[in-house]
């Protein structure tokens, strides 16, 4: 299994600003994923982050808006840039460990943009 810590757990931000969310895993993992969960909706994959390479973004998500870093096998960040109220969501970090073939999730970051 994997234990994932996300910071911050919640934040209220002004529109036009940026927020960086951190995801720390207690073991080395190959794949890290970032999801968005808009109010009352399901999870939507934003991007997949491999260590040492650029993130792969899903349709509808772009690097300029959601830049991702993956400096090592236990850490990743997601930045929500130039925020608007439509970015108010829960952002979740997830990992898949090689042996488990299942996804583990952080507790999420609840973002409110005012």
């Amino acid at each position: 299994s994997a234990v994932i810590s996300q910071k911050p757990s919640r934040d209220i931000c002004q529109r036009g600003t940026s927020l960086t969310i951190q995801c720390q895993v207690d073991s080395q993992v190959t794949m890290m994923f970032w999801y968005r969960q808009q109010p009352g909706q399901s999870l939507t994959l934003i991007a997949t982050a491999n260590q040492g390479s650029e993130a792969t973004y899903e349709s509808g998500f772009v690097i300029d808006k959601f830049p991702i870093s993956r400096p090592n096998l236990t850490f990743s960040t997601l930045t929500v840039s130039n925020m608007s109220p439509e970015d108010s969501s829960i952002y979740l970090c997830s990992v898949e460990t090689p042996m488990n073939t299942e996804a583990f999730f952080g507790q999420g970051t609840r973002l409110t943009v005012v």
């Binding site: 994932i4 996300q6 190959t30 794949m31 994923f33 909706q41 399901s42 999870l43 939507t44 994959l45 997949t48 979740l92 997830s94 898949e96 073939t101 299942e102 996804a103 583990f104 999730f105 952080g106 507790q107 999420g108 609840r110």
Partner: protein, 115 residues
């Protein structure tokens, strides 16, 4: 295209009653199927998963799910619900590609438990 449908947005049951949450999927091959639970303010916790073999899968907290290929379903069941089961439940299919999974989630079912 792969998709997951959870037809019930909200379900309310009395404590001690049985529970069944429905999940239907669309996937071209044998799917990897998951049920996750999300309590308020928490991340997602895996309840159970199906990859192959016995189509009745046992999970944590007394939950089980049955894979029915003919119906493209993977319904979650519990014989007796506890108040602590109140949460949101997500069905997901894992589509393997490029060496890893891409998880596709259903829209979720919010469970309310009456005392």
């Amino acid at each position: 295209a792969q998709s997951v449908t959870q037809p019930d947005i909200h379900i309310t049951v009395s404590e001690g009653a049985s529970l069944e949450l429905r999940c239907n999927y669309s996937y071209g091959a044998t799917p990897y199927l998951f049920w996750y639970v999300q309590s308020p303010g928490q991340g997602l916790q895996l309840l159970l998963k199906y990859f192959s073999g016995d189509t009745l899968v046992q999970g944590i907290k007394g939950f089980e799910a049955e894979f029915k290929r003919s119906q493209s379903s993977f319904n979650l069941r519990k014989p007796s619900v506890h108040w602590s089961d109140a949460a949101e439940y997500f069905c997901a299919v894992g589509a393997r590609g490029s060496g890893t999974y891409k998880y596709i989630f259903g829209t979720g079912t919010r469970l309310k438990v009456l005392a």
